[in-house]
């Protein structure tokens, strides 16, 4: 059972800390820092399901987040939906889209699949930039009344923060549950050798399409929450290509295929990124760091920081998954 796994309780502990810290000091700046960390963990955990579990590199992962943001914001602003139902609907809608994309592009393997995911990102970006109901390239804004159901804009910031933390915890628990399931075993087999996996009885086509679709759900929900919180969306912030690639760096840095490692990589990198981004002299210098980090990780620690932990504390392998 998942409740017996230490990583499950570790995840809940992390979520509790995230909730407690800004609440204790009523510190909005800290809250804004932590929400970015949480979003990074959500994106990277779900990206891990594709890259770390199944062995398929998705360069266009951010498309789920952006598309979820658009659907959510559209439902709230143009249709007058409440946030929870809008966010859930965004998740379901994007997952269904991903299922269709997936059944098409998952016939490709290796570098060809990776290229196709870039294609999906560019195509969706281009579509949204020309889609009238979503405001084309100027995007959409949320009127202040949209925050009324949550008790005004100030309270809405806190509510969305808690919801994002919940999605973060769910992402990690989902990763953990899949890792310890028969479905997860099938995914790992596909990662190791897809042909052998099929001969052993795994329906690789269906498995890949399902995990691609699953990996879209929570990022889309998070996108809906985040762009609701921000009150606006446009194509360039919704589909930030760089973030898609940095997600891969975060995953490799922490340790692909592991739940805690992925979260650790996301957290560390996101803090570093925020620090560098706010240094006035270092505009976009974080990308240099990202490139350098990727090189170092690939060359010297291809299994991520978590592998060091396993090496120094062998028993942690059982506990920290």
């Amino acid at each position: 059972m998942i409740f017996k796994r230490p990583s499950f309780w570790l995840t809940l502990l992390l979520a509790a800390v995230f909730i407690y810290l800004p609440l204790r000091s009523n510190d909005a700046a800290l809250r804004e820092d932590l929400i970015l960390v949480a979003v990074a963990i959500i994106l990277v955990s779900n990206l891990n399901l594709m890259i770390g579990y199944t062995g398929y590199v998705n360069f266009g992962h951010i498309v789920f987040y952006g598309l979820g943001g658009y659907v959510g914001l559209y439902l709230v602003s143009a249709r007058g939906w409440h946030l929870p139902s809008a966010a859930l609907t965004a998740g379901v809608f994007v997952s269904i889209c991903a299922l269709f994309f997936g059944l098409g592009v998952l016939r490709l393997r290796g570098a060809y699949f990776a290229l196709a995911t870039v294609g999906i990102l560019v195509a969706v970006h281009a579509f949204v930039s020309n889609f009238d109901p979503w405001g084309r390239s100027t995007g959409m804004y949320l009127p202040f009344e949209a925050y009324e159901p949550l008790g005004g804009a100030m309270r809405a910031l806190w509510v969305t923060y808690y919801l994002v933390i919940a999605v973060m915890a769910l992402s990690m628990i989902l990763s953990l549950a899949i890792k310890r399931s028969k479905f997860g075993l099938g995914l790992f087999a596909i990662r190791e050798d897809e042909d052998a996996a099929v001969v052993l009885g795994i329906n690789a086509t269906v498995y890949k399409a399902i995990i691609y679709s699953v990996s879209a759900f929570l990022p889309a929900v998070a996108g809906a929450l985040m762009f609701y919180k921000n009150g606006m969306i446009d194509p360039s912030i919704a589909f930030e290509y760089m973030l898609s690639i940095e997600g891969i760096v975060m995953l490799m840095l922490g340790g692909q295929g592991t739940v805690i490692g992925a979260a650790m990589g996301a957290g560390l990198y996101e803090r570093l990124r925020s620090y560098l981004l706010t240094q006035p002299r270092l505009s976009n210098f974080h990308l240099v760091i990202a490139g350098g980090l990727l090189l170092v990780v690939v060359l010297f620690a291809s299994r991520g920081l978590i592998e060091w932990l396993y090496k120094f504390v062998p028993r942690s392998r059982e506990v920290i998954e």
Binding site: K182, L185, G186, F188, E192, A196, L200, G201
Partner: protein, 250 residues
């Protein structure tokens, strides 16, 4: 005895190469059928057609009364037809036990994780790998990896097991162990269809043998019949004395 697997006029062409042409044979319940032939004769291609990796251009394959022509490998294994690979395909990043558990989970009985793990431990004991259960698959020797292939296929609970050169590259002791294992598998009621180049072994083990040459069936019969067949000697064994010696050892 009833036919477990039956192929009728199976053919497969790759570009200009007729890899398998018009091959028909049957495997009976509980029998060990050997498949021999020179390199490039189409033996592995025939295996790949039988378990669904390739679709045949022509012909029909029936397994346990069902038409499985062109059925994907993942469906074929669920009907009880498992195989090993000539070029071993261990799931390297996983442990030996996890490898076998994959076989049990997605095989004929589609076991749940816990039952699959129990079944896998039993299978590992049976093939003599119990003490390696927690080792990473990549750390095994070639002989170990071949055993792992067999264990994985067995864990799927097959009615028919296709063994693709499980003896090649093994030391004499390892060959003897593997032969014992194949006998044990048959005693459990599993039929075996094996490609093998190690002649003594295949002559000793098989109830009947099918000989392929240039994609065509050259001969079929009991080991002594096949070894005495002048066409087989010419195409494959090369020398009638070798054939005689092989039969003496039996």
């Amino acid at each position: 005895m009833t036919a477990l697997l039956e192929t009728q006029g199976v053919s497969k062409r790759f570009g200009g190469l007729q890899a398998v042409s018009d091959v028909s044979f049957t495997i009976r319940q509980g029998e060990i059928l050997g498949l021999i032939g020179p390199n490039g004769a189409g033996k592995t291609t025939l295996f790949n057609i039988v378990n669904g990796v390739y679709k045949p251009d022509k012909g029909k394959i029936t397994f346990a009364g069902k038409d499985i022509t062109g059925l994907a490998p993942n469906h074929v294994v669920k009907l009880g037809l498992a195989r090993t690979h000539q070029i071993v395909k261990p799931l390297n990043g996983m442990t030996v036990l996890e490898n076998v558990t994959v076989g049990a989970c997605f095989g004929r009985e589609s076991l749940g994780l816990r039952e699959a793990r129990e079944t896998s431990l039993e299978v590992l004991k049976e093939v003599g790998m119990a003490e390696r259960a927690q080792s990473p698959a990549r750390s095994l020797t070639l002989a170990g990896k071949k055993r792992l292939e067999v264990a994985r296929a067995l864990a799927a609970g097959p009615k028919l097991l296709l063994l693709d050169e499980v003896l090649a590259g093994l030391t004499p002791t390892e060959v003897a162990q593997m032969i014992d294992l194949i006998r044990k598998i048959r005693e459990r009621g599993v039929s075996v269809f094996m490609i093998e180049h190690v002649m003594q072994a295949v002559m000793k083990l098989s109830d009947r043998i099918v000989v392929l040459n240039f994609g065509q069936k050259l001969a079929e019969g009991s080991p002594p019949e096949v070894a005495a067949d002048s066409q087989v000697i010419e195409a494959y064994l090369g020398d009638s004395e070798i054939a005689d010696r092989l039969m003496e050892k039996k």
